[in-house]
Symmetry: C3
């Protein structure tokens, strides 16, 4: 690809209508990212844009698969934005290692993998081969702030 | 033990009536295993044999404890099969570090640890002392493809 | 702070009326802690004091937010007690990396982050800056022994 990771991130952000810059600040007792040698841990991200969680509710009843996938993409963008800020550049990610996807599910909703696929595809699209990862997706009963989906990850970095 | 890890794996697989060879291929945006230096991450495994998820439904109502334990054992065998393929041999596992067990639970089912015990025992049986691990077991609301149980892990390797 | 990590741990334990010494022994196929080089993994802890799980039930209906927070603090103390035992001293923790908080939730309970905050604050209080961490908190459907909350973590150690 001639494009850079950052330019691909920016193009997706532009299509989403949000820059993912600046608002992702938490403080106090826990942090958004924690580096340990060549690994960076990223806290669970919910589909928040600015101060609003934009995809809420139970997937399979209140929330459609497509809406949940859009939410998963926002979570993935937030995780990338946090990594870019922590590392200075997305180019310092050598490999995603593990992605966890938690879907607030209706009792009979069994397409958690399909929700997670949307995040996996975005991570691969932005980072190229470094964006492939192992993954665990489960259907949980609730998520903070009634978020429809939450995503965390571990990345290897240079 | 005079037997080898692989021979113990093969004996269990034979008793289960399945080789766990060949069918565990996923591709594209995520992968079954990802190595990072001395650690290997394994994606969440559901009790799939060939192309069929063989233990589905909610544990404690539709699925018995014994059936869920059988499912957990299949998940563990799949994880071992993936590690063997990624590493060339089960003998290259120096220590399991962390196992996560996710049980699709009925509202009042509280024996998630007992489900996980079946996977832990199998891992210990095949790998010996290297098979002990830390563990987190939780009761989730749904799992991909209506699986009754899902298992992921992190292993230390040489 | 002039106080030591252990003295702060002891003060909290005294206020809780429990020493967290001695009873945290599991054996067999899985273990409470597993060290791998500079990382220690801690198994999922439920709010057990001695042999009793002291905060059980579904948060948001049977269990109040305050009770769940008390449970999360017990889980965090247990994790610290296990780390102290495994390492010889809490002073050998250089940084908490990742904390997972699993809250057995009522269908409409969305304050999983607030439950987790109680654990995060305690970890920070005892360990100082080394106690900050990334975090993922989710609402699960059930937990082992009907526990209201479960917590696991990964720590960096010297």
């Amino acid at each position: 690809m001639n494009s850079t990771r950052q330019s691909r991130f920016d193009a997706i952000a532009a299509a989403m209508g949000h820059s993912f810059a600046g608002e992702i600040l938490i403080g106090g007792d826990y942090v958004s990212t924690q580096r340990h040698g060549p690994q960076v841990f990223v806290s669970g991200q919910i589909p928040r844009v600015g101060t609003t969680v934009v995809v809420t509710g139970r997937v399979g009843s209140e929330v459609s698969l497509a809406e949940a996938q859009a939410g998963a993409r926002i979570c993935a963008m937030r995780a990338l934005a946090l990594l870019a800020r922590a590392l200075g550049s997305l180019d310092r990610i050598t490999q995603l290692l593990k992605v966890g996807v938690y879907v607030q599910s209706a009792a009979d909703f069994t397409q958690q993998s399909e929700v997670a696929d949307a995040a996996s595809a975005l991570l691969h699209e932005v980072l190229g081969p470094a964006g492939t990862h192992t993954r665990t997706s489960v259907g949980v009963y609730q998520l903070p702030k009634n978020a429809a989906v939450e995503l965390d990850l571990i990345a290897a970095v240079e």
